[in-house]
C-alpha cells in the first residue's frame, strides 16, 4: 500500500518552533484543492526528523546567543548542540551503524521527506543552497490554524495540540503553484518533536521525487560537511568562530556608507531629470543651474567619501581572512625583523610623542610567517596610538621578547597609556568592537591580531591589565609555526 504513495503532494508538520506568517485559511484552501485529487496517508517516521529540526533550532538559538555574548557557557552550549545535531543527522541519514537499524526501515520515507522539504525550499528561495540550518528559515507561522485542520490531519498526540502554538509552511513547487504544506508539531513538554506528515500520490510527482533523491542526498552530505566545518571553526577559535556574525557586521558597517551613497545618487538623479525637463521646456534660469551644480558637487563629494569608507571597510575585512594576507613562511631572525617593522612605522610614530622600544634576545630564529608578525605588530602599535594616548601625549611602547618554554617565544607588548576599561576587556578581540565608532575605528584591528596569532602562527594572545594604567598583550607563539591554520586547536579538541 505504502509503495503507492509518494510525498510530492501534501506534507503536514505542525510545529512549536519559531517562524513567521502564512494564513491558516490559505493552507486550508490549498489542502481542499488537492485533497480532491490526492489520497492521504501518514508517514511513519516523523519524530526523528522532528528531533533533527528541533536540534537545529536549538543550535541556531545558541549560535545567536553566542554571537551576542561569547561566554564559555554559551560556547559550550553551542558545541554541545552542534554535536547533538550532527549525531541526529548522522542517524537520520543512516550513517551511524549502531543506530541505523533502529530507523533503517523508515529511512527511505524519511529521506524522501527531506528531499521534498529541501526541494521546496529551493523553489521558494530560488537558490541552490541546501544548508540544513536553512530548513528553519522557511518555516512560517500558522497563527490561526483551525480546529478543522487539527481534527482532520493530526493523527496522534492530538491532546497536546491544544497547548501548542502550531506553525506550518507552505511550499511552492518548482512550477510556482502552491503544492506542499508542511507543519511541525513538537511536544512542548515531551521535548520530543512529533512530526505529522501527510503523503499523497501522483505518479508524476513520484517520479520527480525519486529523481531528486540522489541529488538531494549529495546536498545532505554537503550539509553535514558544513556542520562539521562549523564545529572545526568553533574548536579552532571558540570565541571568534561566528563567521556569520562577522559577515553580518560587515554588512551592517558597509550598509551605512552604501545607503548614503545610494540616497545621494538618487537625489542627484532626480535633480538631473528635473533640470533636463526645465531645459527642454526652455524655462531654465541661471540660478537654478548654479543651484544644481552646488547640489551635484555636494552629492558627488558625499558619494566619493562614502565609497572610500566602504572600500576601506571591505579592505579591512579582507585582511581578517588569514589566508589572504602574509602567506609567506620562512626562517628569520626575530630581533632585526622587529626593528624593521618598527622602522616602517616611523612615519606614523613621528607624528606622535610616543616611542617604541624593543628588547629581543639576539640570534633568536623562528620558522614562521613574517608577514603575519608584521601585520600584528603594526596593528598593536596603531591600536595603542589610537586608543591609549590623547593627542600630544607622550608615551612609551615596549616590545619585549623572551623564551619561557622550549619551542615557544613570548612577545610582551605593553604601552603606558590610559589602559582599557574593565567592561571592555572581554570584548577586545571581538570583530567590530570599537570605542571609536564614527571616528575612524573599524573594530577589526585586534580581531585581525587575534586571527593572525591563533590562526596563522598557532599561538595564543591574552590581554593583561596593568596596575596603574597601560595595556599589555601577551602573545605566545611556537618558534616553528604549525603547518596549517588551526592545527593546534584541533589537536586539543578533536
Amino acid at each position: 500500500m505504502r509503495d503507492r504513495w509518494t510525498y510530492a503532494g501534501l506534507l503536514i508538520f505542525l510545529c512549536l518552533l519559531a517562524g513567521g506568517g502564512l494564513a491558516g485559511s490559505e493552507i486550508l484552501t490549498t489542502m481542499r484543492e488537492i485533497e480532491s485529487e490526492l489520497e492521504i496517508t501518514p508517514l511513519e517516521d516523523h519524530r526523528m526528523l522532528a528531533g533533527v529540526i528541533q536540534s537545529v533550532d536549538f543550535l541556531s538559538t545558541s549560535v545567536d546567543a553566542m554571537r551576542v555574548e561569547p561566554t564559555m557557557e554559551r560556547t559550550l552550549e553551542t558545541r554541545i548542540n552542534l554535536d547533538r545535531t550532527i549525531a541526529l543527522t548522522d542517524v537520520y541519514l543512516g550513517r551511524m551503524p549502531d543506530h541505523a537499524e533502529q530507523f533503517g526501515r523508515r529511512q527511505a520515507s524519511a529521506q524522501e521527506l527531506l528531499v521534498q522539504l529541501q526541494n521546496a525550499e529551493l523553489a521558494i528561495n530560488d537558490t541552490a543552497s541546501a544548508q540544513g540550518a536553512r530548513l528553519m528559515a522557511v518555516w512560517s507561522r500558522l497563527s490561526d490554524i483551525s480546529s478543522t485542520l487539527t481534527d482532520a490531519y493530526l493523527l496522534e498526540n492530538t491532546a497536546a495540540v491544544e497547548s501548542l502554538e502550531a506553525q506550518s509552511i507552505a511550499l511552492r513547487s518548482l512550477r510556482g503553484d502552491l503544492r506542499w504544506v508542511l507543519a511541525v508539531m513538537a511536544g512542548a513538554v515531551a521535548g520530543t518533536g512529533v512530526l505529522l506528515m501527510m503523503q499523497v500520490s501522483t505518479s508524476r510527482a513520484r517520479e520527480r521525487a525519486r529523481a531528486l533523491v540522489f541529488k538531494q542526498k549529495a546536498q545532505l552530505e554537503v550539509t553535514l560537511q558544513e556542520l562539521r566545518t562549523t564545529q572545526a571553526q568553533l574548536v579552532e577559535s571558540e570565541k571568534l568562530a561566528a563567521l556569520g556574525g562577522l559577515v553580518a557586521g560587515v554588512a551592517h558597517e558597509v550598509n551605512t556608507p552604501i545607503g548614503i551613497t545610494l540616497t545621494a545618487a538618487s537625489s542627484l538623479s532626480a535633480e538631473s531629470k528635473a533640470l533636463r525637463s526645465k531645459a527642454e521646456g526652455g524655462q531654465l534660469r541661471k540660478s537654478e543651474v548654479m543651484g544644481y551644480i552646488d547640489m551635484a558637487v555636494d552629492s558627488t563629494d558625499l558619494m566619493e567619501r562614502n565609497c572610500h569608507r566602504a572600500a576601506h571597510l571591505i579592505q579591512s575585512f579582507k585582511q581578517v581572512s588569514v589566508d589572504q594576507v602574509s602567506d609567506e613562511r620562512r626562517t628569520f631572525e626575530l630581533a632585526p625583523y622587529l626593528e624593521e617593522i618598527v622602522y616602517s612605522l616611523a612615519p606614523t610614530l613621528r607624528r606622535t610623542a610616543v616611542e617604541v622600544a624593543i628588547a629581543c634576545p639576539p640570534g633568536l630564529e623562528v620558522d614562521s610567517y613574517p608577514g603575519a608578525l608584521s601585520q600584528l605588530i603594526t596593528n598593536l602599535v596603531t591600536n595603542s596610538l589610537r586608543h591609549a594616548y590623547d593627542e600630544g601625549d607622550s608615551g612609551k611602547i615596549r616590545i619585549d621578547v623572551d623564551q619561557h618554554k622550549v619551542g615557544w617565544f613570548t612577545i610582551n607588548f605593553a604601552d603606558d597609556g590610559k589602559g582599557v576599561p574593565e567592561a571592555n576587556v572581554p570584548r577586545l578581540f571581538e570583530p567590530f568592537f570599537t570605542t571609536r565608532r564614527g571616528q575612524g575605528g573599524s573594530g577589526l584591528g585586534l580581531h585581525i591580531v587575534h586571527n593572525l596569532v591563533v590562526g596563522r602562527m598557532g599561538g595564543s594572545i591574552r590581554f593583561v591589565p596593568t596596575p596603574g594604567g597601560g595595556a599589555t598583550f601577551v602573545i605566545e607563539v611556537p618558534i616553528e609555526a604549525p603547518s596549517s591554520a588551526g592545527e593546534q586547536g584541533n589537536k586539543n579538541n578533536e
Binding site: E73, L76, R84, A87, Q102, N493
Partner: protein
C-alpha cells in the same frame, strides 16, 4: 490555631513596629533557598507549617545573597535557615551558621546515613546543619523490561555491566533500543555524567577527570549508547517517553520520573542507579536546616543547644517529625533523609520510589556527591563541560584522553575564577579544587 498563627504572621509582616515585642519574640523566622516557587511555598506552609503549634514566618528566596544579607542583619533576626548543602557551605564560610553541637544527640535514632551526616559537618568536627530532605536521580523501568534482566541481576544492586547487558537484551527483543536518558538541551544528562558515571567508574568527578579509569568508563558509555534510543538527544524529561512506550528503561531526576509513576504505578518500577567498579556514584541534593549565628532565639539560662535556641528547636522538631517528612513526598516531591521517616507509610504508588531513594542514600556502596557550589557565574559552565565530554567522546567518537585534557583545562579555568575547595564526591580538602593536569 493555624488561622491565628497565620493572622499573627500577617500582622507581623504588615505592622512590625506595632506588634508587641513579646509576640515578635515568639515567632520563628524561617528563611529558605528552597521551595521558592509560589506553589511550593504554599504547599510547604500548608503541609508542614500550618500544623506547627508555634508561630513561624516562612519566607523563601531564590537568591542565597538575599538570605545572607537577611541573616547578617540585626533588625529582624533569622532563627532558622533551610538550604541545599552548597548553600550551607557558603553560609558557614561567611561565618553565618552556628554549629549544632552533637547533632547525633538531636535524635540519635532518626537514622541519618553516615555519609550525609559527615557531609553536614562541612569538613569540620561539628555538625553545621541538620540533614532534612533530599532529592536525587533514579532509574525507572517498564515492567515489561524486567523479563530481559540478566540472570542474577538484582535491581537494587544492578551493576553497570548488567545494565548494559540488559539494555542490549531489550534492544534485541524489540528490534530497537529502549533505554533512554534525558540528553536533550534541557535534560539533566550532565548530572548523570558528573554525579553518577564518573564517581562509579573513577571514584570522584573532578580530581579523577583525567585518571586512567576514564578510558574504560567512556568505552563503556560508547557500548551502552548503542543500546540507547537516539531520540534521547531530544528528551528533556523521561516521564513522557516512559509513558508513551518509546523507552522502557530510563534514568532521570526523581521529580521528572514521578509523573509517570503516579500515572501508572503498576506499570513502572523505580530503583537506584547502578553500581560501578568504585561503587554507586550518586548525586544527592541534600536540603538541610541550620541555625544562623545572629538569631536572638536564646534562652536566658545556659544549657544544651535546644535551650539555646528553644523556638527554632521546636520548629525543627516539628519539621523533622516522621509524618511531616513523609508527607513532603506527596506535597513537594522531596524525600526524607532519616530512616524513621522513610519507613513511615506513604502513598502506595510512591513506596518503590521512596525505597529507591533510601537505598541510594544509605547503601554502603554509595559514593555520595552533592551539587557543585555556587562558583560565581561558572557553575553551569562547569556542569556543561561534562556534557561536552559526553557529546564529543560518545557522539563524535573523539579521542578520550585528548578530549579529557582539553575539557580539564576548561574546567580548571572555571574553577580558577572562584577558587573553592573540592566538594563531594571529590576529597574535601582546604586546597582549591582543580583537575590535576600532569
Amino acid at each position: 490555631m493555624a488561622l491565628l498563627a497565620r493572622l499573627a504572621l500577617i500582622l507581623s509582616f504588615a505592622a512590625t513596629a506595632a506588634t508587641p515585642a513579646s509576640a515578635q519574640d515568639r515567632i520563628v523566622r524561617f528563611l529558605s533557598t528552597q521551595f521558592a516557587p509560589l506553589n511550593e511555598a504554599a504547599a510547604l506552609r500548608h503541609h508542614a507549617l500550618d500544623s506547627f503549634d508555634g508561630l513561624s514566618q516562612f519566607q523563601p528566596y531564590d537568591s542565597l545573597a538575599v538570605i545572607e544579607r537577611l541573616t547578617e542583619g540585626d533588625n529582624a533576626p533569622v532563627d532558622l535557615v533551610a538550604g541545599v548543602h552548597g548553600d550551607m557551605e557558603a553560609l558557614a564560610q561567611a561565618g553565618l551558621l552556628r554549629p549544632i553541637p552533637a547533632i547525633t544527640g538531636f535524635d540519635p535514632d532518626r537514622g541519618i546515613p553516615d555519609a550525609i551526616a559527615e557531609a553536614a559537618r562541612l569538613g569540620t568536627d561539628q555538625q553545621m546543619y541538620i540533614p532534612w530532605m533530599q532529592g536525587t536521580y533514579l532509574m525507572a523501568a517498564d515492567r515489561r523490561a524486567l523479563a530481559y534482566l540478566p540472570v542474577g541481576a538484582d535491581l537494587e544492586r544492578l551493576t553497570y555491566d548488567q545494565f548494559r547487558v540488559w539494555a542490549a537484551a531489550v534492544n534485541t527483543a524489540n528490534g530497537h533500543p529502549m533505554v533512554g536518558f534525558p540528553a536533550g538541551p534541557r535534560g539533566l544528562m550532565p548530572r548523570f555524567i558528573q554525579g553518577f558515571l564518573y564517581p562509579s567508574f573513577t571514584g570522584a568527578a573532578i580530581t579523577t577527570l583525567r585518571s586512567p579509569d576514564v578510558g574504560p568508563m567512556w568505552e563503556y558509555m560508547r557500548q551502552l549508547w548503542r543500546n540507547v534510543n537516539i531520540r534521547s538527544l531530544t528528551y528533556n524529561q523521561m516521564h513522557e517517553p516512559l509513558l508513551s512506550g518509546d523507552v522502557w528503561i530510563a534514568w532521570d531526576h526523581v521529580a521528572r520520573l514521578l509523573p509517570a509513576i503516579r500515572a501508572e504505578p503498576d506499570r513502572f518500577v523505580v530503583f537506584p542507579s547502578p553500581i560501578g567498579p568504585y561503587g554507586r556514584g550518586a548525586l544527592i541534593v541534600i536540603i538541610g536546616l541550620a541555625i544562623p549565628t545572629g538569631t536572638h532565639d536564646v534562652a536566658p539560662s545556659p544549657g544544651d543547644w535546644r535551650t539555646m535556641v528553644p523556638r527554632a528547636n521546636r520548629l525543627i522538631g516539628h519539621l523533622t517529625a516522621p509524618d511531616i517528612e513523609a508527607g513532603m513526598i506527596s506535597a513537594l516531591g522531596v524525600f526524607p533523609i532519616a530512616e524513621d521517616s522513610r519507613l513511615w507509610p506513604v502513598d502506595p504508588s510512591l513506596i518503590s520510589v521512596a525505597d529507591a531513594v533510601g537505598i541510594q542514600a544509605s547503601d554502603v556502596d554509595t559514593i555520595l556527591g552533592v551539587l557543585p557550589p555556587r562558583l560565581g557565574g561558572g557553575t553551569r559552565a562547569l556542569t556543561m563541560n561534562y556534557m561536552l565530554l559526553f557529546t564529543q567522546i560518545v557522539l563524535r567518537d573523539a579521542d578520550i584522553y585528548a578530549t579529557s585534557r582539553a575539557v580539564a583545562e576548561q574546567i580548571n579555568s572555571v574553577l580558577d575564577q572562584d577558587p573553592h575547595p573540592c566538594w563531594l564526591p571529590d576529597p574535601v580538602t582546604d586546597d582549591p579544587c582543580r583537575v590535576p593536569l600532569r
